[in-house]
């Protein structure tokens, strides 16, 4: 049940050979993009989070053929020429990475979150003054489980991400 689909993957147009029965997670990993992880496989842990048309989804419960004609972003596309994205840098600086298994999914979720904030604030996303509190951050990341950090440093990382992202603008 193979099919060839076309999509944009981390900024580049690609053709992927996928099986109709495959999840997007399986298709991406067999394409060599092993950054997205299978944690639970049932859409509860968020370790497989990727962005489809900028919307974060659990790739383990998304059929690969749904990527047809879409723009897909995975963790592999986030650092450019070896330079970490603001969100990645924030996770490093906040010490929000321990075993690292949940990190790619969390980084993708945070990325879509802060890009969405910046958009809704008219391209200007200011930390502190835009009314985002730590509860909002937790609620936004409720679909990502982390068994190491206890989440405090993850929330710190998201706060830093907002700062770094607006500083970069």
């Amino acid at each position: 049940m193979k099919q060839i689909i076309q999509c944009q993957l981390n900024g580049k147009p690609v053709e992927l050979v996928v099986d109709v029965r495959q999840s997007l997670l399986e298709a991406l990993r067999s394409h060599g993009l092993t950054g997205c992880k299978e944690g639970c496989g049932v859409g509860e842990c968020g370790a497989c989070t990727v962005l489809i048309d900028e919307v974060p989804v659990d790739s383990c419960i998304t059929l690969a053929i749904r990527a047809e004609g879409r723009v897909i972003r995975t963790i592999e596309g986030e650092s450019i020429n070896g330079e970490l994205s603001p969100v990645q840098q924030a996770y490093v600086d906040a010490g929000a990475v321990q075993c690292g298994f949940c990190t790619p999914g969390l980084v993708m979720k945070t990325t879509s979150y802060i890009e969405g904030l910046a958009q809704s604030a008219g391209g200007c996303c200011q930390s502190g003054s835009n009314g985002i509190n730590r509860d909002d951050i937790r609620r936004e990341h409720a679909g990502n489980l982390c068994r190491c950090t206890g989440y405090q440093t993850v929330v710190d990382a998201v706060e830093k991400s907002i700062q770094y992202y607006s500083g970069q603008k």
Binding site: M1, D19, V20, R21, Q22, S23, E26, G41, V42, G43, E44, G46, T49, V55, P56, V57, D58, I61, T62, L63, I65, R66, K109, R139, E140, H141, A142, G143, N144, L145
Partner: protein, 291 residues
């Protein structure tokens, strides 16, 4: 890989109906957040799929000037929440939809899927019941419309024929205008959890008396359930703490919560009474009532 034997992509409602009729035993897949998990578990009956994900015809939301609300069955919860919030509509449905899964799940999961799944715990069910929502079904044999309340047939079962597809949910203006509403999901975790008990209330007041109260629960009976007898009894009553206490003491008569590994019957009964108080109080306050 998912054990899918047959896969058909539908490009219109008409084609979906045709595919269902041509391939008996096929199941519809929309967001996939329930169907793919069943497949992964190896549950039988999901081998042949008709995909209706992201069909334009199913992803519309309209709110007419007179207050009629129509939501396509393929609308994701994220979109539904954003739409209702920006127009200040149906707070109870916003709260119900927001308590489903987590953000990634809400980006995929659809209103139609949550109802057709038939789960007694569906978080959108109680809000739809208190807004007297109706569901539109279509097949090659024609269209029909039934109240969501009557659409539920039993645990995990809805009155959806094999060749039918749910296309839309409709809510009349009088069911949500000048109404205070609230939904609360009691669960062990704040996200990514199945409700222990869910409760929705919608209330209309006149001179601080109950003009109408609609109260519905999930996980309190084999199907999401309205408390019809209680609703009749409170019409015309002045709003007071005593009325709320009476409602909380009467509410169990129409419900039949069960023991499960998630929670005991006794505990569920306690939560049902507690939520009757809190949720009805909040709905009354939101309707402009004085307590």
């Amino acid at each position: 890989m998912f054990p899918i034997d047959q896969y058909h992509r539908a490009n219109s409602i008409e084609q979906a109906c045709h595919l269902l009729a041509e391939n008996p035993g096929s199941k519809l897949i929309a967001g996939g957040t329930d169907v793919l998990i069943r497949l992964r578990e190896g549950k039988s009956g999901f081998g042949s799929l008709v995909d209706i994900h992201d069909l334009d015809e199913l992803t519309g939301i309209t709110h007419t000037p007179d207050g009629m609300l129509q939501v396509g069955s393929g609308v994701t919860f994220t979109r539904l929440i954003n739409f209702l919030k920006s127009d200040g509509l149906l707070p109870a449905l916003v709260e119900g939809a927001s308590s489903i899964g987590g953000p990634q799940v809400r980006n995929m999961a659809t209103l139609g899927g949550n109802i057709c799944n038939g789960a007694p715990s569906g978080d959108s069910a109680a809000p739809l019941l208190v807004f007297d929502a109706r569901v539109t079904l279509q097949s090659q044999r024609g269209k029909r419309e039934v109240p969501v309340e009557e659409f539920y047939a039993g645990p995990g079962k809805v009155h959806l024929e094999e060749d039918e597809i749910v296309t839309q949910f409709s809510i009349n203006p009088e069911s949500h205008q000048n109404t205070g509403s609230h939904f609360y999901k009691y669960a062990m975790r704040k996200a990514m959890d199945i409700a222990t008990i869910g409760c929705a209330a919608a209330c209309k007041l006149e001179d601080n008396r109950i003009e109408s109260l609609r109260l519905a629960y999930t996980v309190a009976a084999p199907v999401p359930k309205r408390c019809r007898v209680l609703e009749e009894q409170v019409i015309g009553q002045p709003v007071s703490r005593k009325l709320i206490a009476d409602i909380a003491s009467m509410v169990l008569e129409e419900l039949s919560p069960r023991n499960s590994w998630r929670a005991s019957k006794d505990f569920r009964e306690h939560i049902i009474r507690t939520l009757a108080d809190r949720v009805v109080s909040e709905a009354i306050i939101r309707a402009g009532g004085q307590l």
